[in-house]
């Protein structure tokens, strides 16, 4: 079976500091990978998605970047955090082939920028 894990679960960072959130998927090959942000009381906003190693698509202009150095590893980064980067970040994956649309989520990472 497939599993997804992201870390850290909670992070408090000062404005201007760097960020690195990591996500790994096990039990499948060549998954589609996603980073979402969920503001308090609001819906899911797609930030980045990747269909393969080194292939990153950005959905919205922002202070964040993503990388996929390995097939099942997805990293969300920032060089200098802003207060507005605070939120709940979710990594997710989907089968790479068109065998259904179901997305599976990680546990989430709470980021508070102070």
């Amino acid at each position: 079976s497939q599993t997804i894990h992201q870390w850290p679960a909670t992070l408090v960072q000062p404005v201007g500091s760097p960020l690195s959130l990591e996500c790994t998927v096990e039990g499948t090959s060549n998954p589609n990978l996603y980073w979402y942000r969920q503001a308090a009381g609001r819906g899911l906003q797609l930030l980045f998605y990747s269909v393969g190693i080194g292939q990153i698509s950005s959905e919205v202009p922002q202070n964040l970047s993503a990388s996929r150095p390995q097939d099942r590893q997805f990293i969300l980064s920032s060089k200098k955090l802003l207060l507005s980067d605070s939120g709940f970040y979710l990594c997710a994956w989907r089968f790479g082939l068109s065998s259904g649309n179901t997305i599976y989520f990680g546990e989430g990472s709470w980021l508070t920028v102070v």
Partner: protein, 112 residues
């Protein structure tokens, strides 16, 4: 633009009551998913519906996909405090690719 509209946005009920939440669109979806999310955790998949008119049951939860595949409903019988959470519906974009559309969710609170 494909949208999924969920209603109600918020629902607070007593333990033992029944409830239905809705997920509607003007667009046809090839499938729809329902997730439940608890505070501080990632959404957990409850069900995927694929066929128009399909009904799926998961213990006290009944999911229905509309005949035209433009809407779905989730009915909970005899709600329990453990059902509390954010219920999200989602579906694939018709333009293909790898993106999913999410509704804004229904926040359910079941009081003991």
């Amino acid at each position: 633009t494909q949208l999924l509209e969920q209603s109600p946005q918020f629902l607070s009920i007593q333990e033992g009551e029944n409830l239905t939440v809705y997920c509607n669109s003007s667009s046809v979806f090839s499938s729809l998913q329902w997730y439940r999310q608890e505070p501080g955790e990632g959404p957990v998949l409850l069900v995927t519906v694929v066929t128009g008119g399909e009904v799926k049951k998961l213990k006290r939860l009944t999911f229905q996909f509309g005949d035209a595949r433009k809407d779905s409903s989730l009915h909970i019988t005899a709600a329990q405090p453990g059902d509390t959470g954010l219920y999200l519906c989602a579906g694939p974009r018709n333009t293909g690719g790898f993106k999913t559309i999410f509704g804004a969710g229904t926040r359910l609170f079941v009081k003991a």
